[in-house]
């Protein structure tokens, strides 16, 4: 079957999708967006978390067909998404009820890949991405994309979360490396810096 949806602000179409294929598989293997991870494919670990019309979901549990006509944000689009939100003072999609309209969000385009922070070129990062690096919350990094999407959504809803709020929001995302302490640090850091500092860069 054919599935059409919007991924990171760009209209996308996938052909020959088998009925049982998950949104995760289509994103990773057909769209070339491997940022969302495949750690359990059972909805238990949160590594594949993306936003579907603004709502964080385990993309491994979403059949690709269910995404028809809907809007998806993955970790690859997180920096642009956060920038849109910061510029429009609300959520980037309009799905959370305030701020940017759906029309405006649909006109938003992810930047082409290519700039490489590792070679000294500046890569745009969302505040939560920058905070994860600075706080040492990235070790093996496999859980990181899902945590970033979930944490970014938390901060969108609640700009100053308590530790209990952070723990509750991230309880669906397993991490095996860090012991979570530095992940808490990262979310606290991003909250303290606020969304206005969207245009942080990789170094």
């Amino acid at each position: 079957m054919r599935v059409k949806f919007t991924v990171n602000g760009r209209e996308q179409q996938a052909d020959d999708v088998w009925e049982g294929e998950s949104l995760l598989y289509v994103l990773r293997e057909r769209m070339g967006l491997p940022g969302s991870k495949n750690a359990c494919e059972q909805g238990e670990c949160g590594s594949c978390t993306v936003r579907l019309d603004g709502v964080p979901v385990c993309s491994c549990l979403v059949a690709a067909g269910q995404a028809e006509g809907r809007e998806i944000v993955t970790v690859e689009g997180l920096a642009d998404y956060a920038e849109q939100r910061a510029q429009h003072g609300g959520c980037a999609t309009g799905a959370c009820g305030a701020g940017t309209s759906v029309d405006a969000a649909q006109r938003w385009q992810a930047k082409p890949a290519g700039a490489d922070g590792q070679t000294g070129e500046q890569v745009k990062l969302s505040p939560i991405q920058r905070a994860f690096i600075d706080a040492g919350a990235v070790q093996c990094g496999f859980c990181t994309p899902g945590l970033l999407v979930a944490a970014d959504e938390l901060l969108e809803r609640n700009a100053q979360p308590s530790d209990a709020d952070i723990r509750e929001a991230l309880s669906g995302n397993l991490c095996r490396c860090t012991g979570y302490e530095k992940i808490l640090d990262a979310v606290r850091l991003a909250a303290a810096r606020g969304d206005a500092q969207t245009t942080g860069t990789g170094a």
């Binding site: 940022g35 000294g120 990062l125 040492g136 723990r167 302490e181 990789g202």
Partner: protein, 794 residues
């Protein structure tokens, strides 16, 4: 390789030379990891690639009567179906220490989930469905699952005709390896004891549960060889096992490390490596294999479950008199690292204490349970769980404070281990206990708010099981000792290639090793070392591959010590050549070239007094200095097979924990409120990473204390919970605040004085949590993980 996308990239990081050792430099791969661009092994892609899938046995022990692959092969989209009969050479087994593990089952299967056949197809679901059409007829055999069933008269033999090195030394063919340690006279010493305590302890089967599943991409090459991109802990160990099975010389199997999503010992053994290569060579197409979580539980070895019997004695003034113990580790169907795990469990079974008279025996069994091998803490974890419970029992019986009792018996520099080896670097056991005890305690009744109980902070959390009525608090302490590096005479070397050249007018360094970066931060530390030694700002980390010599394994807390040592050594030789070049070019202009101690700092040659002699760019011009060197730590020796005596270990790592728990005694639910750690790291090369490792290791110990266990049916030897639904690892809600106090007492034998750190925090956190639960409930609790029924007696 053309057609491969998302391959590992060079990691270049600018920075200043003050981002050298000792600084909390950020990861060079951090930006790639937070943007989703970092290429993990499951993200690899090649045009025209196929997907591989492994058919695994549904029974634990059986003769294979027949395998019929015809229906699977006939499926549209299927390119190959392979069984044992398709293996290309006479080498059909592999293994880390004993080559007893079949690439594909032949004749019989020995554990649930053993690989039986392989499929390559154009879609992963096609491959799975084709595998389901392979007909395997099994004639089931009785299973052995514990010491009693494995060693009784007439027990089925897991391996019928053993010819390995250990076979002649073990009392039964279902025992992989046995290591006794006898020192002093435990019987005589026991007569001096005023109190004696005994205990039987059970340690459950823990899983590494790394998040990134086993995966990789094998690409057939025009020269008949294969290029393999894979997540592993030791490229060269894999290569040594893969090449003979494929019938290829090692130089035709080119391995490159792909992004590794955690390891913790679970990637020391092969998983999909040979399978992927076989399918690629058969089909002539690139083949990607990615395990799902279910398969991952069968795709790697686990932590040895153990049964431990301990007897300790002490005088009434609190001095340990003797220790006797017997440790039975269940190695499962194949040997994996069992012999070395036995060596660790026995030699570290006394813990960080002074006990001169000991009688120790550790064995590992062959059973039809899942194979067990390396996991963080490697044999020392199980022993620590038992000896720390014993310390609490003794302290209680003597009416002493458990921390003071431990301090009274704590080893220090100069103490003899039961193996007769002298601990010849700082061993601050009493100090670590003092520090962890001195940390401020978390406030009581943290759940109480002005609006009533915040149930999120209580055992059971949002399930509202309690509002604090039956909740009691307990505090417990533990400390442990772990060896660093490979022991028992193993040639534990590493190789580093360092290149220094001028690019764009400034000197830059490239570090190339085969070290597996599994998340621990080796890539960060290598760049820091190069900055410190060579005085450069910019360092490039070359992707790890087999085009450079072996770095050894990313395990045993050894990688910063050994490969870090190799990078340091290579940098020192590069520096010496730069200085030699400088002396030839500029030596006549300033006497300091010949007389002073010279360093490289900030891109310049300087004297130890700080005088600048030249720019490194002017010394090198367009010359590059490029050296590949091996580096070794001090040699070790094997343990005597009868007495266990020998200088078997290189270095030791110590950590202490204090756990604070709250237990709902009515429902048997535990909330770990805080888990404080004090650890000696020798020298913190990167303090940020050090604390991350300590907190991560602590959390894995917490997991096995209260939730993590692979449950194997004792009648059928089948795994009952191979999923993240049923095998629970700690979430952010289960994991408390982990304050860390880092002590830095240099080990003069180690590079920069550092101490391997990765494993020690996993040892003591488990017994500390158990001690705290015992303290809260008054229950004996000799088994881990603790489950609600153990606390409620139901």
């Amino acid at each position: 390789m053309s057609g491969v996308t998302r391959t590992p990239t060079h990691l270049t990081q600018g920075g200043t030379t003050d981002a050298g050792i000792g600084a909390s430099t950020l990861r060079p791969d951090g930006t790639l990891k937070v943007t989703g661009e970092f290429a993990y092994s499951s993200d690899l892609w090649h045009e025209d690639m196929l997907w591989g899938f492994t058919l695994r046995s549904t029974v634990a022990h059986a003769e294979i009567v027949s395998i019929d692959t015809s229906e699977a092969l006939a499926q549209s989209g299927v390119y190959a179906v392979l069984t044992y009969d398709d293996l290309p050479t006479e080498v059909k087994n592999y293994g880390l220490e004993i080559q007893d593990t079949p690439v594909l089952a032949h004749g019989k299967v020995r554990h649930h989930g053993e690989p039986v056949a392989l499929v390559a197809a154009d879609h992963p679901e096609t491959a799975r469905r084709a595998a389901a059409k392979i007909k395997v007829e099994y004639a089931e055999l009785p299973v052995v699952t514990d010491e009693e069933s494995a060693t009784r008269e007439g027990a089925p033999l897991v391996h019928e005709n053993r010819t390995d090195d250990h076979a002649g030394h073990v009392p039964h063919p279902n025992i992989v390896h046995r290591q006794p340690i006898v020192r002093g006279d435990a019987e005589a010493a026991a007569r001096r004891a005023d109190v004696i305590v005994t205990g039987e302890y059970v340690f459950g089967m823990q899983d590494q549960a790394f998040l990134g599943p086993e995966s990789g991409l094998a690409v057939p090459a025009e020269d008949g060889g294969v290029d393999l991109y894979v997540a592993t802990q030791w490229l060269h160990s894999d290569l040594r096992q893969i090449a003979p099975v494929l019938g290829l010389p090692e130089d035709k199997v080119r391995m490159t490390l792909s992004g590794v999503g955690g390891a913790f010992g679970g990637r020391e053994d092969l998983s999909m490596q040979i399978h992927g290569c076989l399918l690629a060579l058969r089909t002539g197409k690139p083949v990607k294999i990615v395990y799902n979580r279910f398969e991952s539980f069968f795709g790697h070895v686990h932590r040895h479950p153990a049964r431990l019997w301990y007897e300790h004695g002490a005088t009434k003034d609190g001095k340990l008199t003797h220790m006797k113990c017997r440790i039975v580790l269940d190695g499962g169907a194949y040997a994996s690292a069992s012999p070395a795990v036995v060596g660790n469990a026995s030699s570290l079974s006394v813990g960080p204490y002074v006990v001169e008279d000991v009688d120790i025996e550790a064995i590992a069994l062959y059973t039809n349970n899942p194979p067990c091998g390396a996991m963080r803490g490697f044999g020392a974890v199980q022993a620590c769980f038992a000896y720390e419970a014993q310390m609490d029992k003794l302290a209680k019986k003597l009416g002493m404070d458990p921390v003071e009792f431990r301090q009274l018996n704590a080893m220090e520099q100069g103490t003899l281990l039961p193996t007769g080896q002298v601990v010849d670097s700082p061993a601050p056991v009493a100090e670590l206990l003092r520090r962890v005890k001195a940390m401020p305690l978390p406030p009581e009744n943290q759940w109480e708010t002005t609006e009533g109980a915040d149930v999120r902070a209580l055992p059971g959390g949002l399930s509202n099981t309690t509002h604090g009525e039956d909740v009691v608090r307990g505090i417990g302490y533990a400390v442990g000792i772990k060896n660093v590096g490979f022991s028992e005479g193993f040639d534990d070397y590493s190789t580093a290639r360092v290149r220094m050249e001028v690019v764009g007018g400034v000197p830059v360094a490239t570090v190339h090793t085969a070290m597996a970066e599994v998340g621990q931060g080796g890539v960060t530390v290598h760049a820091q070392i190069a900055r410190t030694e060579l005085g450069v700002d910019q360092v490039t980390i070359h992707p790890a591959d087999t085009r450079v010599g072996s770095a050894g394994s990313t395990s045993a807390s050894r990688q910063t010590y050994v490969t870090g040592g190799a990078v340091k050594n290579a940098c020192e030789h590069v520096r010496e050549q730069v200085l030699e070049l400088g002396r030839r070019k500029f030596g006549t202009y300033h006497p300091a070239w010949a007389t002073a101690e010279l360093l490289l700092e900030g891109g310049k040659v300087v004297t130890d007094g700080g005088e600048v002699l030249a720019d490194v760019a002017d010394v090198l011009e367009d010359e590059a200095i490029d050296l590949e060197l091996e580096w070794r730590h001090r040699p070790t020796e094997p343990f005597d097979l009868r007495t266990g005596q020998g200088n078997g270990h290189v270095q030791y790592s110590f950590a202490a924990h204090r756990a604070v728990v709250e237990v709902d005694t009515a429902l048997g639910l535990v909330k770990v409120v805080e888990l404080a750690c004090a650890q000696d790291v020798g020298k913190a090369l990167n303090p940020l990473s050090v604390i991350g490792q300590i907190q991560g290791g602590t959390t894995q110990g917490l997991g096995v204390a209260v939730m993590e266990e692979i449950i194997v049916d004792p009648k059928t030897a089948k795994v009952r919970n191979p999923s993240f639904t049923d095998y629970l690892i700690p979430t952010i809600l289960d994991t408390p605040t982990i304050p860390v106090d880092v002590l830095e007492l240099a080990d003069e034998h180690a590079p920069y004085g550092l101490r391997g750190i990765g494993e020690a925090p996993t040892l003591s956190s488990t017994p500390a949590v158990l001690a705290a639960i015992r303290n809260a409930t008054g229950l004996e609790l000799n088994r881990t993980p603790v489950r609600p029924e153990h606390l409620t007696g139901t």
